[in-house]
Symmetry: C2
Subunit: 282 residues, 2 copies
């Protein structure tokens, strides 16, 4: 990338991974985060060259590109309050897990001589904070760029090149709508299921009998409650119909068990087996 | 174990693992299975010393113990048709994934000078058949003995010692009722969920965007339709209420999303996180 200096706004787990990955590739990285310890940790580890836990305009003024590592609801306010320091022609991107709720709003408030190009790094860990950052989580992960009519080919190129620089496994492009529909099923519904499976039953006495299937199914039931509450609310028009479709499928299966309809139950098992095979990794 | 010669009836994946594990420990293993190729394979690999794909009374007559590796519905018939060849005092065990439906029936028809002590090796693979047997799947797995009033301390000892010989990670005892309730939630409900998640949605176009969470949640959607249809039907009085409880929990979560009740949704996430931590392996 022709950009030399990157500013990370929000040094959480993912912001920290971006800082790590970019500095390993020879870019200069700055960071802003209200958490003094997060900034000190990133400086100490060499993830960033400069950092501040308080408003520091010169970090923004020097930056050639900005990565918003903030929760979705905080992005618009940060852009509104700080864009006067942006270099003209700057590219701004983000890491948010929902897109419609942020992309259009940020693009609407942004200075006309800057460009916001959204992207979703589909990676995470069960723990949060820059102290747990490890940019190797990107090696097996998808990175999705979600451009709108307002984006330029140069802006999309920048986001894709950032994904390659961070060494994501696969880089693709979806509209914000396509992205949010996909994430509602593949990610949000699966988290809702895992959480509900843990909550359906007082199950502490079953730990001793638990096999890997149950552990695999519930691993993501350990969840950052603040971030996921925000993500669920911002995508509820996509998530709620996915929950309904899943419950309908499960109720259909239940009816075949209740009525002992072996033919239809076997058909359901065969269909799930065939579909799931497509998802096996090469 | 003081028993020297084991007869495996049904050389499927699990029967094959028993044969492998027992012969590695120095026991003599015979097997009966209508599938000629399965018997030939096990002989060739040294899993068994003698085998037959047709009724062969002398294999039964020589056996000191019998392991029924059959589908639940076939056990009673096999015992009824072959127990005239049993040595007096023989122990008979099984590998079935449901217990109430087989234990009482087999014990009711069994000769009074023989003892049926049921056990469930909670291990499996996505593929079936002795050709895929690998007794190392027991190293991380639970083995549950499910005695009834008809069992003797010697019979229970035999089953537990068999589990230790096969090197299971953890050997426990539950009543058939406790076992079936536990399995309805931990195993059958999780399989019903994985299958329904795959079936809820035509999802072939989403393969490219799929992360590990979705793959973890749906791995067990690849399922042996004949065996699992039988297991679900035989345990439906336990499974159906577990499905209902899970759907109630998921609907409750959905309502918090629809009404944007952040406090209750966060409580659900915190509860699932805390409960799931108990299931992390040491």
């Amino acid at each position: 990338m022709k950009q030399k200096i990157f500013l990370i706004v929000g040094l959480g787990l993912i912001g920290g991974c971006y800082a790590q990955g970019l500095s390993k590739q020879g870019y200069t990285v700055y960071a802003i985060d209200p958490d003094e310890e997060a900034v000190a940790f990133a400086l100490d580890k060499g993830y960033i060259k400069k950092g501040a836990s308080f408003p520091k305009p010169e970090l923004i003024q020097e930056a050639d590109a900005v990565v918003l590592g903030l929760y979705p609801a905080k992005m618009v306010d940060w852009v509104r309050g700080n864009q006067q320091y942006f270099k003209p022609g700057i590219f701004v991107t983000d890491v948010s897990g929902v897109k419609r709720a942020v992309v259009y709003d940020v693009q609407a408030v942004l200075r006309p001589d800057a460009e916001f190009i959204a992207a979703h790094p589909m990676a995470g860990k069960e723990v949060s904070g820059v102290q747990n950052s490890d940019n190797r989580i990107f090696l097996e992960a998808n990175y999705i760029v979600t451009p709108t009519d307002k984006n330029t080919p140069a802006g999309i190129d920048f986001a894709e090149e950032l994904g390659r620089t961070l060494r994501f496994d696969r880089i693709t492009t979806l509209s914000p709508e396509e992205h949010d529909r996909m994430i509602g099923y593949l990610s949000q519904l699966t988290h809702a299921i895992a959480v509900s499976l843990m909550n359906a039953n007082p199950n502490e006495h079953l730990v001793a009998y638990t096999g890997d299937s149950f552990r695999d199914l519930t691993r993501i039931a350990k969840i950052n409650e603040t971030m996921w509450t925000e993500l669920f609310f911002l995508n509820k028009d996509m998530l709620v119909p996915e929950i309904d479709a899943f419950i309908a499928a499960l109720n259909h299966l239940k009816e075949q068990v209740q009525t002992e309809n072996a033919q239809e139950l076997k058909r359901l098992f065969v269909q799930s087996t065939q579909r799931r095979r497509l998802f096996d990794k090469g």
